[in-house]
């Protein structure tokens, strides 16, 4: 029972991983044989020295250093786009990466903190993106609603809300959707939760494609399916003006602001009564409810908050891509975001940030812009982008073999993996009511 319940924490290695692991080990053994005998001792000495230095440094740093570091990182983050041109590919990749960090932080609340394996996270991307289409374009052409929008948009037909209002709407809609998807999973355990959420994500994807047949009256439909909804209002801020699709710096600062907000909420929640309750439920639901934690409420809050972050990121990506096409909302997206938090280290906020940045840069910069022509240069007839999922699969397997706890694991999770901590469910033959 415990094995099944926590399997997502360990992420079973795919078939063949054992052989790959053996091959890697063989190579590393061969390497070791060729190195002089004193090298491992030398390495240990160097490592010990480094650890000593870092400890000494940490002791000498004043108590406010972590805050100072945070300020420095934020300032560097704000100034970063000034070193790149307005249309740079790197800036484009970076701001998409930041949007994925927001997604990963949201999914991390559900999967990492509360331990509810969610495979339908793409649904909240869809809701967020469609919020931009519904509330920030002429798609609902029979309506005439304009709230705090630019001069251009205020003369157009359709619903036009200010970008910030769309963010708030998306957050609310996603919170409700998160609770709705959470409700049927409440009496289930991890693997079954995964199946229900997977189905939910697929339903939303199918609904997006077939939304053309959902008539809302007056010739309006729910979505435009694969035709896509375009001519979205660019985000507009009274006094500052509208964002221009060709000027990436402003878009970067917008997503950075959203990210800092989400990061702040995440950090605060983790160290709170609610964060402790999530982790308690993840570790041992029976003990948690016996200690007075309301399981239903606490889980639904995790779903709602995770969904909210996903929706906010969806709003940004929708507005940035300028077209909302039902094709975006595929199952592979959920897996992509899940891979980020697994690579980073489940349950770890900084792990989610790191994992999301890493995989996004690989997917949106390294593969298409830097390495894409390599196969052609070698005389092979394909682009590297065609292999991107293969590359991700390989990286994921590699991480699972070499560092199963993730790159930047949470202290507790590390212990769960190494000390084989498992709750004793044998005692209860039925789930707690």
């Amino acid at each position: 029972m415990s094995e099944v319940r926590r399997s997502h924490a360990r992420v079973p290695a795919p078939e063949g991983a054992g052989e790959l692991g053996a091959q890697l080990r063989e190579w590393s053994d061969a390497l070791r044989r060729r190195l002089p005998p004193w090298w491992s001792r030398a390495l240990a000495v160097v490592a010990a020295q480094l650890r000593e230095w870092s400890d000494a440094l940490r002791r000498r740093l004043p108590p406010w250093w972590s805050r100072a570091l945070a300020v420095v990182v934020i300032v560097v983050g704000i100034l970063l786009p000034l070193f790149f041109s307005q249309t740079s590919d790197f800036l484009n990749a970076t701001l998409i990466a930041l949007a994925y960090v927001v997604m990963a932080l949201g999914l991390n609340v559900v999967v990492g903190f509360a331990g509810l394996l969610d495979l339908g996270y793409v649904a909240f991307y869809a809701f967020g993106a469609y919020c931009v289409a519904w509330f920030g374009s002429d798609f609902f052409f029979k309506a005439h609603v304009h709230v705090l929008v630019s001069g251009v948009a205020s003369h157009e037909i359709g619903i036009h809300l200010n970008f910030v209002l769309i963010l708030v709407c998306a957050a609310l809609i996603c919170a409700v959707a998160g609770i709705l998807i959470g409700l049927p999973t409440l009496r289930l355990r991890s693997d079954y939760i995964a199946i229900v959420t997977l189905a939910f994500g697929e339903i939303i994807g199918v609904l997006a494609v077939n939304g053309t047949s959902v008539h809302l009256g007056g010739g309006m439909t729910l979505t435009a399916g694969n035709l896509g909804i375009s001519a979205l209002d660019p985000p507009y801020f009274p006094g500052l003006g509208s964002l221009n699709t060709l000027k990436l710096r402003a878009w970067y600062w917008l997503i950075l602001a959203i990210l800092l907000l989400v990061l702040f909420v995440n950090l605060r929640l983790r160290g709170s009564r609610l964060g402790r309750a999530w982790i308690a439920l993840r570790e041992d639901e029976v003990a948690a409810v016996s200690m007075g934690i309301p399981a239903v409420r606490t889980k639904l809050l995790a779903y709602a908050i995770g969904a909210t972050f996903g929706g906010m990121s969806g709003v940004f990506l929708g507005a940035y891509y300028t077209v909302i096409d039902a094709d975006y909302f595929a199952f592979s997206f959920s897996i992509f975001v899940l891979s980020m938090i697994i690579v980073g280290g489940l349950g770890s906020i900084w792990g989610a940030v790191l994992g999301a940045l890493l995989l996004s840069y690989i997917n949106y910069y390294l593969i298409p812009d830097v390495l894409n022509s390599i196969p052609r240069d070698l005389g092979l007839n394909f682009d590297l982008t065609q292999l991107s999922f293969g590359i991700f699969g390989f990286l994921l397997v590699l991480v699972m073999i070499l560092r199963p706890q993730g790159l930047f694991p949470e202290r507790r999770r590390q212990l769960e993996l190494t000390a084989a901590i498992a709750p004793q469910d044998a005692e209860l033959s039925e789930p707690p009511a």
């Binding site: 702040f264 909420v265 605060r268 929640l269 709170s272 009564r273 609610l274 964060g275 402790r276 309750a277 982790i279 308690a280 570790e283 041992d284 029976v286 003990a287 948690a288 409810v289 016996s290 200690m291 007075g292 934690i293 309301p294 399981a295 809050l301 908050i305 202290r411 507790r412 999770r413 212990l415 769960e416 000390a419 901590i421 709750p423 004793q424 005692e427 209860l428 033959s429 039925e430 707690p432 009511a433």
Partner: protein, 266 residues
């Protein structure tokens, strides 16, 4: 069967069950059990393995819903109440095979135990107004007090539960249960794995809990020395049925109890 089953539900009882039955499929784990735990008493629940003691505990704490019968805590019917609500009403428990949150520190475990007495919600947790900061500070201080009270060394407060010794884990589990300010404490085999001295110390500690905190204690126990030492009354289960009840000394000499434990003498 003794008169308990015919007794009116008494207001002075800490907790009482009224013809409680629990079936799993065809198996009757607890069969029509009625018993009363008086306020501020220490009562032992004994019986051979598989007698239904832990199942009864799980019903008292709301983890299982009885198939029939009802459970009354104080003057409130808690038969269909959720476990977290029952904890909030003042019932706390420990588990037979320690169920601490093993990857959390001892102090965090105790702070979790305080969950039902805390108020901070989502917005409080994010914005941390002075009220929430004060609450968090108080819970932390109280957690340290409780850990000291159950005899955990100060330097272990921030150790992960999994790293603590077996005895210390038992201590932390009791501290976690006490954190919710219970009126009734359910201890499931608290002396399991302890030597004679540790068991004696725990016996003293249970008495202290009653005199200093006014607790009612119901414990499942196999160590007869502890049972005879600490409990005023003993209830004996065998195959889910209550076979005896009364003062400890009487129960010990009850032929049905001897038979349940040692088998029938020919």
């Amino acid at each position: 069967m003794t008169s308990a089953s015919n007794m009116p539900l008494t207001a002075t009882a800490a907790i009482q069950t009224d013809h409680v039955t629990k079936e799993f499929g065809g198996l009757i784990a607890v069969d029509d059990v009625s018993f009363v735990v008086a306020q501020r008493s220490i009562v032992s629940l004994i019986g051979p393995n598989g007698a239904g003691k832990t199942t009864l505990f799980n019903m008292l704490t709301g983890l299982y819903k009885p198939t029939a019968g009802r459970i009354v805590f104080g003057d409130r019917d808690i038969t269909h109440t959720r476990p977290d609500r029952i904890t909030a009403m003042g019932v706390a428990r420990t588990f037979q095979n320690i169920r601490l949150f093993r990857a959390m520190s001892a102090l965090e475990n105790v702070m979790i135990g305080r969950h039902s007495r805390m108020r901070a919600g989502v917005f409080g947790s994010v914005f941390r107004p002075p009220r929430v900061r004060r609450e968090e500070r108080e819970v932390r201080a109280r957690g340290r007090e409780l850990l000291a009270y159950v005899g955990l060394r100060q330097r272990s407060f921030d150790s992960l539960a999994a790293e603590l010794s077996y005895g210390d884990q038992r201590r932390v589990e009791i501290a976690r249960a006490l954190a919710s300010d219970p009126a009734l404490l359910l201890l499931d085999e608290p002396t399991a794995g302890m030597n004679a001295q540790e068991s004696a110390a725990l016996t003293d500690f249970m008495r202290r809990l009653r005199s200093e905190r006014g607790l009612t204690i119901l414990l499942i126990e196999h160590d007869m020395k502890v049972v005879m030492d600490v409990s005023e009354r003993v209830t004996v289960l065998d195959h889910g049925v209550k076979i005896a009840e009364g003062p400890a000394a009487d129960v010990r000499s009850n032929p049905r109890v001897i038979e349940a434990y040692l088998g029938k003498q020919d």
